[in-house]
Amino acid sequence: QCPHKWRRIFCTLCNSKRHSRDRCPSIWRSYYLLQGNRRRALAIHKIYCYNCGEKGHFGDDCYHDRSSRVPNEDGSAFSGENLPKQVK
């Protein structure tokens, strides 16, 4: 029924199956980091969730149903994944 051939979408940059390489978020989602190995403290008491408003986790990691009807397939900046490795 579908006139289009089934095509596998695969990103060679980040191994995601949700987008192709030319539309990989890593193309634009890059931060220019401060130099130095100074150990950075994480302000844990200021982590809030954009989805439920509660404290202690980011919106991408919320266990409640999603409040916004717009999908978030590739993940956003507001995720535990977006913390530097030393503090994860």
Binding site: D22, R23, P25, I27, W28, R29, S30, Y31, Y32, L33, L34, R40, A41, L42, A43, I44, K46, I47, Y48, C49, Y50, N51, C52, G53, E54, K55, F58, G59, D60, R66, S67, S68, V70, N72, S76, A77, F78, S79, G80, N82, L83, P84, V87
Partner: protein, 331 residues
């Protein structure tokens, strides 16, 4: 090549940047520098306010004129009007007679043309144009909350690098889409500042303190449009701002912040009154959210397009151009 649509990119080409996010950061800085008032414009504005102020004091020796709003926080776009308030020790200047006597006094002194007295509104004001500078001025009476808010905002601006730049971009973006007028359900200037301030305060990279915000304005602008355009739970989450920080709170815990007609509304808790929602006038939040999402899609698509293009094709291009649509006078 002459480019009148994106005048801020003239002689500021960043097409050789390796990271597209860095290119966007530099373009944001160029745009902010382009729309920021020149020393001459600042002098004219200050002189104009000085004249009005002296006239008010002459008419009412117990009164004084203060500026608030975007003029007092240095967050205004070219051609925006100046908000002032007349406060007096007697506290009696808000009655209709006083409004009309100030209006005719300013007219007689040739300090005001196109005068409108709006006496019946919740906040009575006089609107006029100062003839020499052609600046639009709004005067309200006997209130201090605007002056207080300006003080809080100036504190945020000194503690939060990048706040000024992002606020100016978002304001320009909303004004190009006519979503910046509270009377038509748009976002007012104070609400925009609160949204950007809460975003910067609660961003994971700010919390971990491993980036400089002013070196990451590009990616932060995209993160901001993504948060408020795609992900933010307007039905369930309210934003709380204090003079020293921002947080979220579940709306169900503070029903005063909830709009009685719809759960889908923006709620920003007033730092001065926990039961007051600063943004309750912004009833068109659906279009505002859509506009933010559209800006995010425009920016990401533009990044993919320019990332795939050859350096030759990138020369003289703008990333921000279609997002902020500057249609003002050339500066």
């Amino acid at each position: 090549t002459l480019n009148t649509d994106y005048p801020w990119i003239l002689n500021h080409d960043h097409s050789k940047q390796r990271e597209i996010a860095d290119w966007l950061t530099l373009e944001i800085k160029d745009f902010v520098a382009y729309i920021s008032p020149s020393q001459e414009e600042i002098t004219v504005r200050n002189a104009t306010i000085g004249k009005i102020r002296r006239a008010v004091k002459e008419l009412w020796p117990d009164a004084d004129l203060h500026v608030f709003g975007s003029f007092a926080t240095d967050l205004y776009l070219p051609g925006s009007d100046i908000d002032c308030v007349v406060n007096s020790s007697a506290g009696d200047k808000e009655n209709r007679n006083c409004l009309y006597s100030l209006a005719s006094f300013l007219k007689r002194r040739k300090l005001a043309t196109q005068v409108e007295v709006i006496a019946k509104a919740r906040v009575p004001i006089i609107k006029f144009v100062e003839p020499e500078s052609q600046i639009h001025i709004d005067v309200s009476f006997e209130r201090t909350n605007g002056v207080e808010a300006a003080k809080i905002i100036r504190g945020w601006l000194t503690q939060t690098p990048g706040l000024r730049e992002l606020v100016l971009i978002v304001k320009q973006f909303l004004s190009a889409r006519r979503l910046n007028n509270v009377h038509t359900g748009g976002l007012g200037g104070f609400s925009v500042i609160c949204l950007v301030y809460a975003f910067l305060e609660l961003h994971p990279r700010t919390l971990s303190a491993d980036i400089s915000t002013t070196e990451n304005l590009g990616i932060l602008l995209m993160d901001l449009f993504e948060l408020y355009g795609k992900n933010f739970g307007y039905d369930h989450v309210a934003i709380a701002v204090q003079s020293d920080g921002a947080s979220y709170l579940p709306k169900q815990k503070n029903s005063n912040l909830q709009n009685p007609r719809t759960s889908f509304s923006l709620a920003i808790q007033d730092p001065g009154d926990a039961n007051n929602n600063i943004s309750r006038g912004s009833f068109n939040i659906r279009d505002i959210k859509k506009a933010f999402a559209g800006a995010f899609d425009l920016l990401t698509n533009r990044c993919f397009e320019l990332d795939a293009a050859t350096f030759k094709d990138r020369v003289g291009k703008s990333i921000l151009g279609n997002v902020i649509k500057y249609r003002g006078k050339e500066r």
